[in-house]
Symmetry: C2
Subunit: 510 residues, 2 copies
């Protein structure tokens, strides 16, 4: 037998790609952000409701844009011979929830929920396979006044987070208008449903890829910088031109409430035979009428055009939308990974999905809602310096100098805690005292408690003011001098511990 020193194979600690851990600062900041969002939702009369992570795959449906992975971008597994999937959004599960509990629910049903969703996609920079959404939905609301309310609520959320007017805009469109364009280029009918969806998804990338990128996606396809090829929709040039022209029309909807303008627009005749302008007209009219109604509500409620604006390039990449769609976009510039200056872009959106609940019901159940991408929004607030990063004060550290006195040290800690002061006893290997001070330093402890056996016998405790200590230490030159000076350190009576710590914390806070 060889006695070679073979290292045992160690298990490698690693996370699957596209999944991340969250730090204390991030968690606290997100919690504070989400509390502000909840406050707006609650004020608007929404109540929380939550569904689990798993649904039966058939209940979720296949509404996901990305299909470069098995299971159409969803994490799925079988359970007792039925396929279950992790939810990819919070809307499809809500539809299942409403249908399952239809008889117990009072309509209109106004609810909100935050939760993780999962996408089995190719991970990339800033693209995660688990991320948090924060949704609000109204089920059983047939009119566009419900959609208008969603847009105003998104605007109010932005402002509640400190994003000022001009730094955000809510873009609004209507799927019926887009359906008109589809109809016009001969993509109407059930048999073209998938093609239509692919067109929408191509349009949805206008922000990121520009006109030429969209043109490629609508035609033969596109090869990105990493060499990955995305299949194109394969439309003929003449159809692509109609779509691009539609997207590029300046002020397309700006004057929608000018009846003459919209009439001219919708009825616009053409000599170009392959374009079915009658279809365009028919379908668009419904969508345009709804957009006009929504605009009236925005005006009555004082939401000016610089806050909520109609934009024909706003499409949303999900299949299930049936009417108004909307998107919250942040318009301030940021520098992307390639060093280019771009607008921050979308942090959430939604729309009307009248078919999603009815799939289960055999009767129409209209619904509308939106979703906020929590991590995206957090990144945006970081960029704006609006993220609530107020540090939680680190605990007071009770150090250990004598292994026999653990009970006593811990009792000091408990006294402090019972007085509402954040405190802990050093729980590492206490035998090297400088390690304890180093720990206090790294952890930003404001005060350190020290008691050796001499002090204990005398009923005394040493308090070290870490902030004052650091200030004084800056002026001390040698290690020896430092140790002799004990900067910021003073002795108190054991019985005065809580009062003295409270006093010192108050002074430090001034």
């Amino acid at each position: 037998m060889s006695k070679k020193n073979k290292k045992p194979q160690k298990l490698k600690a690693r996370l699957p790609r596209g999944f991340v851990d969250r730090s204390a600062d991030d968690i606290r900041a997100v919690n504070s952000m989400m509390a502000k969002i909840s406050e707006v939702y609650e004020r608007y009369g929404f109540d929380p409701v939550e569904t689990p992570m798993f649904e039966y795959t058939d209940c979720l449906g296949k509404f996901l844009p990305d299909s470069d992975r098995p299971n159409e971008g969803v994490f799925s597994l079988t359970d007792d011979d039925q396929w279950m999937s992790l939810r990819y959004d919070l809307t499809a599960p809500l539809a299942r929830h409403v249908a399952e509990n239809y008889n117990d629910i009072t309509l209109p049903y106004r609810t909100y929920r935050a939760g993780y969703v999962f996408r089995n996609e190719k991970p990339g920079p800033g693209r995660f396979r688990q991320f948090m959404q924060f949704d609000a939905d109204t089920v059983g609301a047939p009119g566009v006044q419900a959609d208008a309310e969603m847009c105003m609520m998104m605007a109010d959320v932005m402002e509640a987070l400190g994003i000022k007017r001009g730094d955000y805009v809510i873009r609004v469109n209507n799927r019926k208008v887009l359906d008109g364009v589809m109809e016009a280029i001969g993509l109407g009918g059930d048999e073209n449903a998938e093609k239509r969806l692919n067109v929408l998804r191509a349009i949805d990338k206008l922000d990121r890829l520009g006109v030429e990128g969209v043109r490629e996606l609508l035609g033969e396809g596109r090869v990105d910088e990493s060499g990955d090829r995305t299949e194109g929709v394969g439309l003929p040039d003449i159809s692509i031109n109609v779509i691009i022209e539609f997207l590029q029309k300046q002020n397309f909807f700006k004057d929608l409430d000018d009846e003459k303008y919209s009439g001219r627009l919708m009825g616009a005749p053409s000599k170009n035979k392959p374009i079915n302008y009658f279809g365009l007209f028919q379908a668009m009219r419904g969508g345009a009428k709804e957009l006009l109604e929504m605009n009236k509500i925005f005006e009555s409620c004082g939401y000016e055009r610089n806050r909520i604006v109609v934009d024909q390039a706003c499409v949303r990449g999900l299949e299930y939308y049936t009417g108004p769609v909307f998107e919250a976009e942040l318009t301030f510039p940021v520098t992307n990974e390639k060093g280019q200056e771009v607008v921050f872009g979308s942090v959430g959106g939604g729309g009307r999905y009248d078919g999603l609940v009815s799939r289960f019901m055999g009767q129409p159940v209209p619904a509308t809602g939106f979703s906020i991408g929590v991590s995206r929004l957090m990144t945006a607030l970081k960029n704006l310096g609006k993220l609530d990063t107020a540090k939680t004060l680190a605990p007071v550290l009770v150090t250990v100098m004598d292994g026999d006195a653990m009970g006593q040290y811990q009792s000091y800690v408990q006294q402090l805690r019972n007085a509402g002061i954040r405190a802990e006893m050093y729980q590492g290997n206490w035998k090297k005292f400088p390690n304890q001070l180093r720990y206090a330093d790294k952890r930003d402890c404001p005060i350190v408690i020290i008691q050796g056996s001499d002090e204990r016998d005398a009923g005394k405790i040493q308090l070290k003011d870490m902030i004052e200590g650091k200030r004084q230490a800056a002026a001390i030159e040698s290690n020896e001098a430092y140790r002799a000076a004990r900067p910021g350190q003073f002795e108190i009576e054991e019985d005065d511990l809580v009062a003295e710590v409270q006093k010192l914390l108050a002074e430090q806070g001034e």
Copy 2:
């Protein structure tokens, strides 16, 4: 072709077994409960950190008690040819997190986290396949003072939630003591690891199954009331008797700090050959010493024996514990599904797991922590009437009487919201007005705003006090009289809307 009226196959809205939706009341109550728990964790010097739902299966390890399902009770799927699993607890992922970020982490590392975990188990009443845990852990803390702190923190959590002394107890034991028992009956050594674990899991069911149930599980196996058979450990009677005797010893650890007693106990000789009392003695001594040290800390800090108690039947069913283990048990009686009165039982627990981080490291990284079962605890608080069920006030409802005035109605709502008042416009089919009042009634709206075209032209608004209205309505006999009387309803100036609503809400709150 037959023209039979064939109903189309409708999609059935349903959740997979073992998964549930959460109501508004539950969500609000749990949030309030969790805020109280966080407050204790923070006071103890712990900071939040979170990991994602997925881990590579090899990083999680196989530490789950139930293996009546494929993948040893875990939900798993392959990703790029590697197995990933949904976390089954929050401890194994924390170990991965610490190992992966070891160089950036200051030890001891005190953290807490709440999150959903998943078990691919047979669902049963009150047994879910997705549930929430709320954990606290200290990594890099070798001494039992860290374990003792965990026990005290669990006790403080119970009290912060309003569970009074006597209604809860923290049970403490040490795996080393149990290892002694195993050693004694010849189950020492790596080759018996699985058997030892099965013995622990059998003991863990003492509460639920009683002595005879545990005896069956240690021996030939057990058939439960549903006819399901659980395989037994297959120990000989002589070994089973040692375990049962150990479990039944009254006051086994009560006098652990009486050195004479524990010496007598641990050194107890026997004529019975198959029992290796030397092994029992050797292994137990270490565990007993640690329990004594912990007891000293509990005493110094004023945690009496009725709050934290050593109990040899406390084992915890997970394989990874290496030293002290502890459990928070609620001792008040509840009636179970069979109508029997039982103690409520465990709501959380934990222990020392010195091997879990080191698996990745090639160096020892001691750690200890515990987990609270959030749903179990919520059920317990419900039973005790200690759950914070303060209702959020329902919104003020602005009704719709005129489709052309949607903008105006919505602007009233926005005025109220801007003043911080929860409000909504009716978003259902508004044409049947009684439906709107019925909605307000079901939703418990405190005030309803009504404005027809006459009132609008006159700049007036009708306010309906729903609480006063209900009171008056009780005395009105006919529907006609009710409609004529308009109970609780009065007219105000449009401009006074916010002020009048504020005034009325204040009056209602008195």
